[in-house]
Symmetry: C5
Subunit: 118 residues, 5 copies
């Protein structure tokens, strides 16, 4: 069974960047971050777009993953995974608050060890 | 196969807090709570925000997981998991009712026991 | 591999209740009902709330799982599971029609039988 | 690992019916169709309901799985599975176009063959 | 455990086409692309439909998988998979930007090798 933890971070105009990196260097295989929901706070301004951009270490992909706007789109459910890579989330438009929810997972390394001595 | 149960709790202005903790202390590994949906009741007031905040025992994360408002957002689907940690849900804004739905899961501890005597 | 079947029921003002119970008593382990979607029919009245409440046999939980309203919320996706328990769905508000969709699943009982005679 | 293929069909007023049946008769176990999304086309008429009904071979269930309307509900995500059964999709209301998306899956038949000769 | 990478591409009027093909020819089995979300950018024009069409190499299926419009539908979550096939995404209507999110996955080829020498 994989070992996992809840991941929850808040982005605002003042603190608009958050980076996730490999949590455990001794456990080099199978670590990932899964983003399930990006949610706009009740305090968000009317008619203001709030855009969260992601930048990955592996492959250097840079792309918005959430476009939120009060009265139109309160939440999106990207359900994307970042596997064995550093990831940075940045609120590139809007003043938030925006909440990012997901899991960090350390996948099982299946060890099958069968020793038979006759 | 994992053993699981439906999880459903109601938050209102009067009863605005609910805590989930490890159900079975004798079964220490792999217990988790999965939150699939947070739903605003038909009785909710117009134009009132209803916000559910989560606080975790492990890592002490405190963050809203649902922002609901009649006429705009009736339900969100966070699909987040709380693994081997106490979790408290609190209705920090609005009078509800708000319904939280999910599963509690006790994961299988796979026991592979291979004894061979020749 | 699990054995599964599509589950689809319709609730209306006249037939407002539906109960699911263990399908196969001879197969006592691992039977569950998964509810993926609750959908409001095209014939539903404007501005009328349609609320589906669930009652479980195990733990006796009673809670709405869908709040639908034409022009606001046409469908919700609870994605909840009822495992080894009787479940009753009731349209407690509104005249429908409301459609409930999901799966019934009989999980595999893994039988590992290794006999070796030398 | 299961063998799977993308499933995508278009329903219109003129071609309003589509049937899926077991693809491979020689592979009798574990074939299923999963419906992930039903989407209303940009050409759909304003204020017209578009309803997709499903009829199953096994258990003869007949029920709408999508109710779509421009300006209100552009897409639904039923996430339902049809396992070892013929399925017919019919656009019973509206002129479309409506797009149905999912997967066909042939599940693995796990063959564990352990022969030991001493 | 499968090896996976985040997939994120941007379509605009100027660069309206993107093709995904087997990443690794030496690893011929089990490669797929999963599309989780298609999201309309904050810069999209009001009342303009943005439609993303997919064309597959295997079975030559051609069908829209996303119909987006500012003020109505900001994002869809198709959750479809393209398995062992080339796939082309094209923005056939609208000027975007439209963001496509998902994963590329190389499934595990399970190798069970049990050698016993007595
Ligand atoms: Mg799911
Ligand atoms: Mg899913």
């Amino acid at each position: 069974m994989a070992e996992e933890s809840f991941y929850g971070v808040t982005l605002t105009a003042e603190e608009n960047t958050e980076t996730w990196d490999f949590v455990d260097e001794d456990y080099s295989r199978g670590q990932k971050l899964v983003i399930k929901q990006v949610l706009l706070g009740a305090e968000a301004k009317d008619n203001e777009f709030n855009v969260v951009e992601v930048t990955t270490g592996k492959d250097s992909i840079q792309i918005p993953i959430a476009v939120l706007k009060a009265g139109e789109t309160r939440a999106v459910n990207p359900d994307v995974e970042f596997y064995e890579t550093k990831v940075t989330f940045k609120l590139i438009k809007g003043s938030g608050p925006v909440y990012i929810h997901g899991q960090t997972i350390k996948d099982d390394v299946e060890v099958v060890d069968m020793e038979e001595e006759d």
